[in-house]
């Protein structure tokens, strides 16, 4: 009877949603990384996880890497034992789509420190999280609960290209420090800024 009931309930499922809510469970996913290995979010339970949507040719992303802002955020994450997942949702043929070898080369040439660079060429994970821009950042705590989503810092908006990013208020660093200290995350949501994610059309 119970099985029957579950079957009945399952009949009503039709998943259409495309966003995540801070302080609720982050949706699970599994993607291939730049070494061809399958990486799933659930395997990092017990660790805080940062998701970074990227597109290396996007001028916004380029500035964050050129100034060392992204790397210094990754550095803080590494020191705290936080898992950093860089996700590329660019569809083949669009800006930011790279082959695994190129992705690894970008990691080393930019001295980036992600734990994995993941490929989401169909855009399913990006759309599930409502990732709109590159960069677009998410911080998930060790219980798998989303604690922050939005921009990496408050430098977005008019005049971004002239701003000194190292002076900006880095929301991701703040969130990581607060989670590490067992505090509630003070800025839970911010407006993401950057280039549009180049989803498959």
């Amino acid at each position: 009877m119970k099985y029957l009931l579950s079957l009945l309930v399952l009949l009503f499922i039709n998943i259409t949603t495309a966003s995540v809510t801070t302080d609720l469970s982050a949706p699970r996913f599994e993607l291939l990384d730049s070494y061809g290995e399958s990486v799933s979010l659930s395997s990092f339970k017990g660790n805080t996880v940062v998701l970074e949507w990227t597109n290396h040719d996007c001028p916004f992303v380029a500035k964050h890497y050129k100034t060392g802002n992204m790397q210094s955020t990754q550095q803080l994450a590494n020191e705290q034992g936080v898992v950093w997942l860089t996700i590329i949702s660019s569809a083949p043929g669009t800006q930011g789509f790279v082959l695994p070898a190129k992705a690894n080369q970008l990691t080393s040439s930019r001295s980036a420190k992600p734990n994995h660079v993941l490929f989401d060429p169909e855009g399913g994970v990006g759309k599930m999280y409502g990732a709109k821009t590159t960069p677009h950042m998410y911080v998930i705590d060790d219980q798998g609960v989303l604690r922050y989503q939005g921009a990496i810092d408050d430098a977005g908006g008019i005049g971004f290209m002239n701003k000194n990013l190292l002076e900006a208020n880095n929301y991701v660093k703040n969130a990581l420090t607060e989670i590490q200290g067992g505090q509630a995350v003070s800025t839970r949501v911010s407006k993401p800024y950057g280039c549009s994610v180049k989803y498959k059309s």
Binding site: S19, V20, L24, P59, G159, G194, C195, K198
Partner: protein, 685 residues
Amino acid sequence: MKKLYTNRLNLRLALVLFLICFFPLSTLSNSYFNTGQSSVTLLTESNQIGGEETLLVGLEFKLSPGWHTYWENPGDSGEGASIKWNLPSGFKASTILWPGPERIPVEPLMTYGYEDKALLLTEIKSPKEFSNPVKISAKINWLTCKDICIPQEGQVDMTLIKGPKVANQFTSKLKEIASTVPKNFPSPYRVSVINEKIFLQFEKEGSRNISEAYFFPSEYGLINYAADQKLEKNDNSFSLELSSAEVQLKTNTLKGVLKLKVDGIKEFYALDLPLEKNTNNPLISISLLTGIIFAFLGGIILNAMPCVFPILSIKILSFIEQSQGSKEKLFHHGLVFSAGVLTTFLTVSALLIFLRASGEAIGWGYQLQSPWVVSLLIYLFVGIGIVFMGNIVLGSSFGNFGTLVQNQKDLASSFFTGVLAVIVASPCTAPFMGPALGLALLQPGLQSIVIFLALGIGFSLPYLILSIYPQLLSKLPKPGEWMQTLKQIMAFPMWASALWLAWVLSSQVDMQSVFAVLLGALLIALGLWLLEKTQNSASILRRLTLIFSLGLMIFSIWLLPITSDNNSPNLKNEENAFSAQKLSSLRSEQRMVFLNFTADWCITCKVNEAIALDRDKVKKVLDEKNIIYLKADWTRKDPEIASMLASYGRTGVPLYLLFPSQGDPIILPELLTEDLLLDFLEEIN
């Protein structure tokens, strides 16, 4: 002669050089900048400026065809241009006067900006005294985008001369663009937030031909940029329906630009007004402890609800019989029954949480929005009635169908009776349950499991107590013939429930499908009767009947309607049907509203309607006090109603809201009486 000519030529050249040096022609030469993908030109309405004057200047962006640059709020991605003016001391530049933007969709996102070209205006104010000439320059950063974005940077400058303003070839162009910079909206407008929808209502006299309207928000976190905006017209009043942002930030104002297409001509207006506080998501929630207590009380009361009562009264009969046996065994049965109840509640809660997490707007009783479930329950209720009426021993050969037979002592039977009791309870919401379930489902996690556990414990408590103290039943007569009679009597409430479910079904699907389900119910009855008739027969005959009966039941399952038919002629389209839009406009007119959330499958709702809501006295008071009655019928799936319920911390019906002319609504109790309702209605104003 020849020499003179040369001299004259030199003189002419000198004159030209003089003119070039001192006239605007030369000063315009640096006002143009080209990056390859786009160019910028600095335009001015006059090359002369006097003291304490305002000069309109503009940066004209020309982009390659198909490329765009962004508005102040770029939408989902991108960035608007930045202009940094370098002016002589005393001069001041305004912020950019952005002309009305256009939508530039980048599937699945939405951005706001200007395609192919843009003219961004700035007003420059001069001081009283300044020295001649006036050198102004601007450093510009902008993005030129198509599918990719290229950051651009450039500087333009210009020299102005002190003197009265003189029009030039750009004056009219700049003035024309200035007229498209959004101005404050001239007519009354208001905004209200209802659930996930924001309604922008405005009047626009004399222009009934608004063919298009779009609101460009200035700030992030209020409105979903990519969602369609629906425009509805009523004479001179319009209502634009906006969807809330997927990720919301606290915003107190609705600020942005409204674009209208009036008689085919685009108009842009600036809007800025506070969001109506009292309708801004009045999420009413209770503490976890209150939730647990409510769930527990609700669980106890659920036992007395008409859908559950017959099943449980039969369960009591089996207790009476078992109370003759060992005390220990009886206690075990009580525990196992409770385990069945709790397991089912937890399974249902886990599924509900899972479904809500995947975005389904569902709640308690939601399963009855599916005609498939309603039909299966009809079969179940008819079947239970037949079992009550007859003498069928549904042994192990036929599965543990929540066996309710006296001599059945199997523990599994107690477990499945618990499961069955919860399933038949699903159409009922007892008092106290609404807020508790709302808390459980709207904030999923550990606490929702705790609340469902409390509900299950409350539900099974009477049986646990009886199983520990069977002497409480000693006042009842000894087991005997009367139990058989009582069991048969209890078949009738079961069949009545089936009839009621058939009525529910009739408002979900067409008559033909209802008839098919009734036929299926008849086949089930026939199958069960055959099983009963042959239970003492030779094994071959018994097996044949079993196969035949199973065939009948499978056939009856095949008859089930799968989806609801939205074109069903029975579909209610009542005048007082709730819609967020209707409520919003009534609220903005400061009308008092009584809002009834109901569903055909909700017995509590129907009882309340019969004993209170539909009474003549109540109708009279509603009429006299001019309270508008709205009915939100949740018999079928309806995300609008589901989200409205959610904003009051509920996931199920009934819910009664009484809105005064201003301020938050009163939430009425879930069990209404005529007097109680009249008290509320008379007090409201």
